[in-house]
């Protein structure tokens, strides 16, 4: 599963959702893999506003990935300042880093843990399982 997906997931237990501690879910014993994809600059610019930045930084450091900038980049920060005028924009290093983290880095195995209730959700063969035992629903 892509790291970007974690920007949209939370603990499945109803009572956890109203507490800030239920997001983001925290990786444990994670095995990561890289699945290379084409970088789409317009797409990266467009998802910036959707990212919960401090939480994303937390997840990255918990995964042991390189630290992301302290504040959320602006769309302009994703464009290489050396791209010459009139030509198609080329991605900056920030854009490349973000692409690598959000879209190419995938969690293959491990657990996602709720910071509120401590429930662990398994990730197996890249697929996360959010089903709860019947007594927790």
């Amino acid at each position: 599963m892509k790291l970007l997906t974690l920007n949209f997931l939370t603990c499945a237990i109803k009572t956890c959702k109203s507490t800030p501690a239920s997001f983001p879910l925290h990786p444990r014993d994670a095995e990561l893999e890289i699945a290379e994809t084409d970088l789409n600059l317009a797409f990266l610019k467009s998802i910036l506003a959707r990212l919960l930045w401090p939480e994303l930084r937390t997840i990255c450091s918990e995964f042991g990935l390189p630290t992301l900038p302290e504040s959320r980049p602006e769309p302009a920060d994703l464009v290489d300042p050396d791209s010459s005028e009139g030509e198609e924009e080329s991605p900056s290093q920030t854009a490349r880093d973000l692409h690598r983290v959000l879209l190419e880095t995938c969690m293959r195995e491990g657990k996602l843990v709720c910071g509120n209730c401590g429930h662990e959700y398994a990730v197996k063969e890249g697929v996360a399982n959010f089903l709860l035992p019947a007594h927790l629903v």
């Binding site: 467009s46 506003a49 602006e74 959010f130 709860l132």
Partner: protein
């Protein structure tokens, strides 16, 4: 007519096979009136850097099954939304469906892509989705008035790959029953989902829900409109008209804050 994604790789012994209901969703989502609605609701950023006003829309399909509907949206995102930055995400209870759907989406989206598929996760409805993050919600529920299956062996069925012939047959019939049986009036699962909709939809969010005649769609729409001022529910697609009764219909659910 936009192309229907291929599902030839899917094992329909244990994953719901695309049927009239799936195709009604495809036809409705790509009808001129829904395309116009989606274009207006999610206008493409007017300038290169105006993304903050209308960021990438997130499409969530609950109960993806073969993935034919989500793959259709992912592959035709540019036509449906007029933009190239659509995010898709799916859930299903059935692990085999999750795997199949991921493959269906991967096959359907060809370069240059107008969407990015996040993942298909194993989940109960939208319970694991962060509140107010969904812009387009799609649900083809188990709507047949028929007894719900016994969930007690779900985990085993989802995780055990090797089992005897008769156990595998039981697993497969269980997984198929999950995909169509909706309990009393076919509404037990849909009612649970309806409770989650106001919580998961963003302020610009819109839902597409499939109902059959036995689900009493007029009552369902009335219930939605009574959630709070501004909630709207309209039938935007129908199929199988017989003697003035539609067999299946798609209800669009959204909030109009100008009311």
């Amino acid at each position: 007519m936009l192309p229907t994604p291929s599902t030839t790789h899917v094992c329909f012994d244990r994953v719901y096979e695309p049927a009239e209901d799936s195709y009604l969703l495809l036809d409705t989502l790509s009808s001129p009136s829904e395309i116009s609605f989606l274009h207006n609701r999610f206008p493409a950023p007017s300038t290169n850097d105006a993304h903050a006003d209308s960021p990438a829309p997130l499409v969530l399909e609950v109960g993806v099954g073969s993935g034919v509907v989500l793959a259709f949206v992912a592959a035709n995102a540019h036509t449906l939304f007029g933009r190239n930055d659509v995010l898709t995400l799916g859930t299903d209870l059935n692990r085999y469906a999750c795997d199949a759907a991921a493959q269906t989406v991967r096959h359907a989206v060809t370069a240059p892509a107008s969407s990015v598929n996040l993942d298909i996760v194993i989940a109960d409805l939208a319970t694991a989705i962060r509140p107010r993050s969904v812009d387009v919600f799609i649900f083809n529920p188990p709507y047949v008035p028929d007894e719900l299956p016994d969930f007690s062996r779900h985990e085993t069925y989802n995780t055990t790959t090797t089992m005897g012939k008769s156990a595998a047959f039981e697993r497969d019939s269980y997984l198929l029953r999950l995909s169509y049986a909706g309990g009393e009036e076919g509404m037990v699962v849909t009612n649970r989902m309806l409770e989650q909709i106001p919580e998961i939809l963003s302020s610009r969010g819109v839902g597409y829900l499939l109902l059959c005649a036995q689900n009493k769609p007029e009552e369902v729409k009335k219930t939605i409109r009574a959630w709070a001022p501004g909630w709207m529910a309209e039938t935007v697609g129908t199929s199988g008209k017989k003697a003035g009764w539609e067999k299946l219909q798609i209800v669009r659910i959204w909030r109009d804050d100008t009311c």
